[in-house]
Amino acid sequence: MGQLFLVPRWGGGRVTNHQTSQPSNYSTIKLLEVKNLKKYFPIRKGFFRKTVGNVRAVDDVSFFINEGETLGLVGESGCGKTTASRCILRAHAPTAGELLFRTKEGSLVDLAKLTRAQLRPLRSQMQMIFQDPYGSLNPRMTLFDIVGEPMYVNGVKDRKERVERVAELLRLVGLRPEYMQRYPHAFSGGQRQRIGIARALSVNPRLVVADEPVSALDVSVQAQILNLMLDLQKRLNLTYLFVAHNLSVVRHICDRVAVMYVGKLVEMANTLELYAAPKHPYTAALMSAVPVADPRIKTGNVELKGEVPSPANPPSGCYFHPRCEFAVEVCRKDAPVFREITPNHFVACHRADELRLPGIA
């Protein structure tokens, strides 16, 4: 089976100019549209494990990812980024909502409604890259097994063919094919992350969910992996959902960014617009907290007081109101709607129209 490996499977839409590329060089065909996604984890107590409440880890979240683009998902620890990602890959069964995915063949399916058997043929189109390059690889498997396993599961049973493709994948991520028989412990953190990427790409995915892919890496290694992800995206027309907490990295990689707070999306916009002119007070607070690597630019001026509330017991109205310096009466009573305030700029804040919030850069 000849592989069209390095040729984008889908021709249209994206014209990439690598050095000067700026937003919106992706297509506007939605690869994935998430509608009103909810994931509740029951809180059980007592001998009969009775459900006494719910952790609303993801609470009515809607967003879309266009084919060939990178959507960033940011927010503080526990806000539901990983849970949302795992729902999309159906590693979790969503409590409610739709996950509309455009298949390779061009039809629209709701991943949320598919059975395991119906999902199986779609699995190869969606893959995950994990945060921990140490924990996510089986130490008893060789690189050949690690990278070749998903394609075996997906029907490439001929060993010789797998060897060829694993070699090609290793080269693609900048590792030597000769390493194929080695075990993960013989590799550095950055190399292990490359192995994880090769494994994810082994089945020709279209959507790649990367959950904190560079957070555990040193800065010099981080740059190598970010370059690799950008390069692969261009060559293979990949679509990324990029979950991260480092806002400088997110700005560098993502075309658009969605900001989560306690299980809900509070803002989503083109990256540069979001950074320069955030519309939600929480986004603005996040931006101001970014430590800029320049001693002449002093940051951290807006201090966000208090703690993130528990998703098991969120506040009334706008979940951000107890920490928000702009909160008014309505904020305590009514939950703001996530609405499109200017084209492609979505925000959930009662006061978004009147507030002028500082951004960075």
Partner: protein
């Protein structure tokens, strides 16, 4: 560099781990001075020796590690108020003198936040014990001091939190409690080893602000360790860059960020995405990877990855850390010929 005597002066410190497989030269000749009231930043990638340097200063290097040579000079006041300089490297790690210094004069915020507190005692009890160990006060007074510390670091409902266990606290509150414990004996030098790597950006901003405020109010010195160049730029007044157990460069924060001299510092700064650069372009990377500690290269430790290395020189001799200009110190043959005697 400065007319006053430094609070801490480390000279050519070497700390090795004698392993069965060979010797790990974790710290291999490190020299720096920290002055009162200064925030001294140490940056460098994983494994370069940041934590071991600080463990050596506190004399808590675990076996098979030991200080092989060098001086750790601490300026202190004796009981009768005289100024004295003692070499911590010469003290017995378990001596009374060292125990008096550890925790009271030099306090540590350890890299692993879970290591700071025992899970079987409340955080309040542990802070009270630490205070009783170093200060001549009653248990009741110690509790009052602990409570005040919790208030100072901005822990809400401090009274109640003192009676909780560390695992009951959120990441941000636990980090504040650790800082409260470290500051409870009013140290003159606080060593913060990656105090914000485990917390969110907004909590990080709170912790950094808190440390800065405490340093201003108490005029204590802080040694701040991180691999985050953004945090260093915002926090430190003076910066030391380490690589493979050696100091590559040190100088005032503005010089390090705006006029870096060492090729490693330059490469490191280029490789991070910043919020002012053009997005989605290739980041300049450092070729190769950090060598395994058993396979340290000969000569300048950075030479196999250095774009400017001088064949026949950088790969055979080790450059010494020497001053260039008025403020910066660099160990690189591009700037001087000084070398480390073999």
């Amino acid at each position: 560099m400065n007319n006053e005597t430094p609070l801490l002066s480390v000279r050519d410190l070497k700390t090795y781990f004698m392993m069965d497989e060979g010797v790990v030269k974790a710290v291999d000749g490190v020299t720096f001075d920290v002055y009162a009231g200064q925030i001294f930043g140490i940056v460098g990638e994983s494994g370069c020796g940041k934590s071991v340097t600080m463990k050596a200063v506190l004399r808590i290097v675990e076996p098979p590690g030991k200080i092989v040579s060098g001086q750790i000079l601490l300026k202190r006041k004796t009981a009768n108020g005289e100024e004295q300089v003692i070499d911590l490297a010469q003290l017995n790690a378990n001596s009374k003198a060292m125990r008096d210094i550890r925790g009271a004069e030099i306090a540590l915020i350890p890299q692993e936040p879970m290591a700071a507190f025992s899970p079987v005692h409340t955080v309040g009890d542990q802070i009270v014990e630490a205070i009783l160990l170093h200060q001549n006060v009653s248990r009741r007074e110690a509790r009052t001091i602990a409570l005040q510390m919790f208030k100072d670091v901005g822990i809400p409902m401090p009274e109640q939190r003192l009676d909780e266990y560390s695992w009951q606290l959120s990441g941000g509150l636990r980090q504040r409690a650790i800082i409260a414990m470290a500051l409870s004996c009013n140290p003159r030098l606080l060593i913060a080893d990656e105090p914000t790597t485990a917390v969110d950006v907004t909590t990080q901003a709170q912790v950094l602000r808190l440390l800065r405020r405490l340093q201003e109010q108490r005029h204590a010195a802080i040694i701040f360790i991180t691999h985050d160049l953004g945090v260093i730029a915002q926090m430190a007044s003076y910066v030391m860059v380490m690589y493979l157990g050696l100091v590559m460069e040190q100088g005032p924060v503005d010089e390090i960020f705006h006029a870096p001299k060492h090729p490693y510092t330059q490469a490191l700064l280029r490789s991070i995405p910043t919020i002012t650069m053009t997005p989605r372009v290739n980041l300049p990377t450092i070729s190769g990877s950090i060598p395994h500690p058993f396979n340290k290269p000969r000569g300048c430790p950075f030479h196999p990855r250095c774009e400017k290395f001088i064949a026949g020189k950088c790969d055979t001799r080790i450059p010494a850390l020497q001053p260039i200009g008025e403020k910066q110190w660099v160990s690189c043959f591009l700037y001087h010929d000084g070398e480390v005697a073999a």
